[in-house]
């Protein structure tokens, strides 16, 4: 039995569908991330699970119980907001205790559970502080403790780290994930940051304009996007329109806007045309033409290079072909002369060429 199950859920605002016929199930202990551009309906979906938004159609089940018409306070969900939403007039302790009070848990049990929850987020010493006296990261941890202490069926987080700076965000990711694994709590996480989604999730749900585009593990979503939209949204990619020009036993040769590529034959090609994706970090940059097994090598000219610290990003114009984005780890000590205008060779492995299913 899934912890959360949405069936054919629909939410319209006026004539626009914020969420359209959405099916989604979260298994016990699973960490599922809703990912998509702004306005695609992530928050709306989460808020329907929490009970703040009523769907126009479809059903929502939590813990095997149909909760579609049930108000938020009887849904047993733990909710964490981007702005923390700590009660400013209550101490950390009172904040965490609130949910237990509303449930009529008796005082002695309340105390031990609040202390346990604060211990989990490493804030045991801060229980008498007021929210305004805490840093952003500490506030978010209180919010987490407050949501967890009621032992909800599912933990819902809407861009919980959006207000934190980058370093803290990276740290909180790890902490949240560890905690989630330890408590084995089903979690629905909303973000529009792909790094966050890739690094934390068991499964990612990529959404666009109110519908689900693809559901899968981080690896599958990144390596094998099922549409141009997903490929484009999940990090940088080279996307070419391609058509097959030759075929051998184990490879297809594709003409990608003038660039000849080989792709593994295991990939289906419906009809003669396709869109192919090559991730820029999988392309090798060579100073001289070197033919390697399982790769194609083409010549080109560096148009621009952008220094990004740990990586360097190049735009290479292929002779009689497209401009290709290449990202290299910044490890070679200047072995490639990166001056715009200098000639280079690109080595593209066959298995880096991915044909997006139509």
């Amino acid at each position: 039995m899934s912890t959360v199950e949405l069936r054919k859920v629909e939410k319209r605002y006026g004539s626009v569908a914020a969420v359209h016929s959405l099916d989604l199930a979260i298994e016990p202990g699973e960490f599922v991330t809703l990912l998509g551009p702004s306005g695609c309906g992530k928050s709306t979906t989460l808020r329907m699970v929490a009970g703040f938004v009523q769907p126009n159609a479809g059903t929502i089940e939590i813990g095997g119980k149909d909760v579609t018409g049930i108000p938020p306070h009887r849904r047993e969900v733990g909710l964490v907001f981007q702005n923390y939403a700590l009660f400013p007039h209550m101490s950390v302790y009172k904040n965490v205790e609130f949910g237990l009070k509303m449930r009529g848990v008796d005082p002695s049990e309340r105390r031990s559970r609040v202390e346990e929850a604060l211990g989990l987020v490493k804030l045991g010493d801060y229980s008498e502080r007021m929210p305004a006296q805490l840093s952003g990261g500490q506030q978010q941890r209180v919010a987490l403790a407050r949501a967890l202490v009621i032992r909800p069926n599912v933990l819902l987080l809407d861009e919980p780290f959006g207000a934190l700076d980058k370093q803290l965000r990276d740290h909180m990711r790890i902490e949240l994930r560890d905690l989630q694994r330890k408590l084995n709590i089903s979690t629905m996480f909303v973000t529009h940051d792909q790094d966050e989604a890739l690094s934390m999730s068991d499964r990612i749900v990529v959404m666009s304009e109110g519908t689900v585009c693809q559901v899968g593990g981080p690896n599958a979503i990144y390596e094998k996007p099922n549409s141009r939209f997903v490929a484009d949204f999940m990090g940088r990619s080279n996307l070419f329109e391609a058509r097959q020009v030759d075929e051998s036993n184990d490879a297809r040769t594709l003409d990608a806007e003038g660039l000849l590529l080989n792709a593994d034959k295991t990939q289906e090609l419906n009809g003669g045309n396709a869109i192919v994706m090559v991730r820029p970090e999988k392309i090798e940059l060579l100073e001289s033409e070197t033919n390697r097994d399982g790769s194609v090598t083409v010549g080109g000219k560096i148009m621009s290079s952008v220094y990004l610290g740990s990586t360097v990003q190049y735009e290479v114009k292929v002779e009689d072909g497209p401009t290709v984005l290449v990202v290299r780890q910044n490890v070679e000590d200047g072995s490639i002369s990166a001056q715009p205008g200098s000639p280079v060779f690109l080595s593209i492995p066959h298995n880096a060429v991915y044909i997006i299913p139509q």
Binding site: P72, V77, N83, A85, H89, F98, M102, R146
Partner: protein, 269 residues
């Protein structure tokens, strides 16, 4: 303080002028307070001798006592009612659809823009029709009409800065809408509620013209002061004025120094 903006001389002139204006605002009241402690049977400044003679007179006179009693009674009835009506309306405006919010807000504060003389005339008319003039049934609703807009404004301003996700957080933690409002929203917007209550009390306590129309035999404190003043200027009027001033000043100070005027004191930060 802005540096490099204005040389010291114009600035000094500005300070002096402003201090004179403040002197103009404060001095008459200070003089009134001092004169109220005279021991003579007439008013003069400075009084030749000081004492509480006129305060005793005020406290023992049944006219003054009755007037104060009625004014306090009305204000005590008006304040909670005003707070309830105004807060309900402010919540309605805050939570209702965007569309029409502006016009309904305008309706809720409309009695403010009407001169009280016209409002008083109208209310007097309907009170005569219903035969309730000169009773609490007329005084209380009449005062509410001018106090409710202030509550709508002060509570409305607090609600505008209130983050609704707090209420949602409470609901996700198991509080019903009503309990979330009670435990979270109302405590957080308390400054707005206090401001609304203080405004209501003071406005009702000081109200003159509408009550002037409605009252014939009953006398509120402002009416009693007015008729005394028309008759003769005695030190007792200075004493009662000082008492009124003390009450309103205390309430105003509470309002100001908790920084609740002008939108939670953000302007003075």
């Amino acid at each position: 303080m802005r540096e490099g903006y204005g040389s010291p001389w114009p600035h000094r002139a500005l300070v002096v002028f402003s201090l004179l204006v403040i002197f103009f605002l404060v001095a008459p009241l200070a003089i009134l307070v001092i004169q109220s402690f005279t021991n003579e049977s007439y008013l003069s400044f400075p009084p030749p001798s000081f004492g509480f003679r006129w305060y005793r007179e005020v406290f023992t006179s049944s006219d003054w006592r009755d007037a104060v009693g009625l004014s306090v009674l009305i204000a005590i009835l008006v304040t909670p009612l005003s707070l309830i009506l105004g807060t309900l309306a402010a919540f309605g405006l805050d939570r209702g659809p965007m569309r029409g919010r502006q016009s309904l807000y305008a309706v809720m504060i409309s009695p403010m823009v009407l001169p009280h003389i016209v409002l008083g005339l109208g209310i007097f008319r309907i009170a005569l029709q219903l035969n309730i003039e000169d009773t609490l049934l007329a005084f209380v609703p009449a005062h509410l009409t001018i106090t409710v807009p202030f509550v709508v404004i002060s509570v409305g301003a607090s609600l505008q800065t209130f983050n609704v996700t707090l209420e949602e957080a409470a609901m996700s933690l198991g509080a019903s809408r009503w309990r979330a409002v009670w435990h979270i929203t109302l405590p957080v917007i308390r400054p707005g509620l206090i401001a609304g209550a203080i405004f209501s009390f003071i406005i009702s306590f000081d109200e003159f013209i509408i009550t002037f129309f409605l009252a014939t035999y009953e006398q509120t404190l402002p009416l009693e002061m007015f008729s005394t003043l028309m008759f003769q200027v005695k030190p007792s009027i200075a004493a009662i004025s000082t008492l009124t001033l003390a009450v309103t000043a205390a309430l105003t100070a509470m309002l100001m120094f908790r920084g609740q005027i002008l939108g939670g004191g953000r302007i003075v930060k």
